[in-house]
Symmetry: C3
Subunit: 291 residues, 3 copies
């Protein structure tokens, strides 16, 4: 049985998603088609990379992930199919795979060439579905296209570290359903650079000296019923995807607002971590121990 996931910026109103699913079922009656999301902000590759990285691993090995974001074919924007971490990805070569591939090298990448005669403004339907069904039936990547070794890199996804290793300068790469603001700074990188030193996180005019591992760790109450006192408090957390996140406890974008609206943090804004330098002469800033 084939598991085929869809990650697109099609939205859920238009006919695009229905047409794609129908085409897959017409080829593969038994396929399991799973929507990862169709709500990617149009053409936003960073969002796509973040969402895909945090969801693909849950699926059974051998799953096929179709990505339909900014996928119109051009000389600058080839179509590729690849095997990485025992999962198949079919996507444009526009950098979105680099967030996943930054940790795990692809086993094989091919540039899709089966569609050289297809002029299409809807390549997910006209090309990607064919490729997915071909792979699902046991077809080899080599038949789909010619092997390539390089793929586009998405530079903005990597945070910068200063020379003295006292600062990680990251950016907001995603704002989630609760308005939580997610940076590109991973727990792994934080620990590698920080080496247990105390630190200060700076996000706009806001400072954090503690990073939680659960949202409700902020609640430090003896008496049942006091939980609500903490609603609306800001906090820094390593989220379930392993990234540094600025959150508002029990926030809701639609009503009280989330970290993004309440703290004025937008996509691409800088979030940085300053570590206590190893030779500390004066230290007037507030620094705290890692929890």
């Amino acid at each position: 049985m084939a598991f085929i996931t869809l990650t697109t910026d099609f939205g859920t109103k238009d006919h695009f998603v229905g047409a794609v699913k129908g085409a897959i079922y017409s080829e593969l009656k038994d396929a399991k088609i799973i929507d990862i999301t169709h709500q990617i902000s149009p053409f936003n590759i960073t969002e796509t990379a973040y969402i895909l990285k945090n969801s693909y691993k849950s699926f059974p090995e051998g799953s096929i992930h179709i990505v339909g974001v900014d996928s119109e074919l051009s000389n600058e924007n080839k179509h590729i199919a690849l095997l990485l971490d025992n999962h198949y990805f079919i996507c444009p070569d526009n950098g979105l795979i680099s967030m996943i591939a930054s940790e795990i090298n692809p086993t094989k990448i091919v540039e899709i060439t089966i569609h050289n005669r297809v002029e299409s403004s809807f390549p997910v339907l006209d090309v990607f579905v064919q490729v997915a069904c071909f792979i699902a039936k046991g077809g080899s990547l080599s038949v789909i296209g010619k092997e390539i070794k390089e793929f586009q890199k998405l530079i903005e996804i990597q945070p910068k570290v200063n020379q003295t290793q006292t600062k990680i300068i990251g950016n907001v790469i995603y704002i989630d359903n609760y308005g939580n603001v997610i940076s590109n700074i991973s727990k792994k990188q934080f620990q590698k650079i920080g080496k247990g030193r105390s630190f200060k996180i700076v996000a706009h005019r806001h400072f954090f000296t503690k990073i939680y591992s659960k949202y409700n760790e902020i609640v430090n109450c003896q008496n049942i019923g006091e939980q609500n006192l903490y609603d609306g408090e800001k906090l820094a957390i390593f989220n379930s995807a392993g990234f540094l996140e600025i959150a508002i406890y029990r926030s809701s974008l639609g009503t009280v607002g989330g970290a993004s609206s309440l703290l004025g943090l937008k996509y691409r804004d800088v979030i940085s971590v300053e570590f206590k330098s190893l030779e500390t002469k004066k230290e007037t800033d507030v620094f705290s121990a890692i929890p």
Copy 2:
């Protein structure tokens, strides 16, 4: 074959829903996973209860319903699994089950204890999925946790009745996709208290003395083509879920507006029903017979 439904406030953009589905399929290749909704207003338990109550019964007996709303574990917010009306529910013990359990007693409730060592900010993925797959494979609730007899009650869900049984004071518990305003006053309670008496419904500055059973009963036209004359008319109806609803005929929140916007009714606003008192001396108010 296992039917597993998802009711969450995750939204459909983030990776959360995809990750949860992938994890279920990795355990249970044949599972049927059905989205009830992921659009619950963040942390809104009343909405969750209303939606779950009105959808779970349609599913085959033995279905497993995962509820991911306000589900982070704390001393105040335990995780429970229960069998009720031949359906399984896996959810936080935050009151949401009380709307369903107000009519049908749970057969068995356990407090989930298999995760005592899991520190997780994403318990639906890390805990609820495991529990659901365990139940789907025929596992017993007793293995998952220790049996408990009590669960949290959600008080605001129950309307009040005055001492002389002439008034039901309810609240808006839900606003639907059309902007229709749904109260917590059920047809059952209305009939039990009303005993066939004439009545007046009061919602903000608006009055209703008739309750319809279909929206287009308001259209009383002889000539085909006059239906549109009634677009935008306000009406009271017992909706398909059996609750008293204030609606605008053929409304659309996005364009002309719905009852919520046009009549100024918000979540938690009071909607009351006044019945004619049994000993009527003076009666100056307008009362009508129940249809």
Copy 3:
């Protein structure tokens, strides 16, 4: 295995979709239920027709398409089931089928009569699901209702052509997820009337003399990296559904805006095509060759 699709204006927050799916699975454990969309603007029949026309064909023959838009039963709004192009449709007889049936005649249409005793404000759940499951199990349309020959026509869906065949006057029938503005003028009709003549498309205050077949045909760059210069350019295209569309290159309604917001084009606005008349004496307007 039965493929059953859903196209509704229910939205994805309320319990309606979940209830319908549960009811189908309770009857047909093996059904494949596919959401085409639940985001139709409430009661909008033109949108429904456009989306359905562009998605149903992808599905395997014999698929059953449930349409829940403006489906409350009345004397003016019968329920019908039909076989058309080897697909089954279950829907209200409110004109939505006429966009599909304008090109292909239905094989058989019946007026559903099995529900004559059902008073329901939720006919999709109470009636359409029953009909769909009956058909999926091999039941005959004749058992569901009495055969009829006529169905409601939706007039606004057809563009007008002037007597001298120099002008097609169409309308905006749909605005998609990217803000692209889609007219009811099909490529087929354009070619039939235009007969290769040069033309001018008029949409509000905007003119187009070229129609692209891919969005990025507008990019005419030698150097890699110049693609972004074209972001925000307006263009006319025959979209993947075969209709004339006014688009903004790489637009996004949520951020920079789409053709609808940037060019001020709304649902039902006029979009027309003027062809060079065959006997050309004076021709001061700008006309271009069809690409």
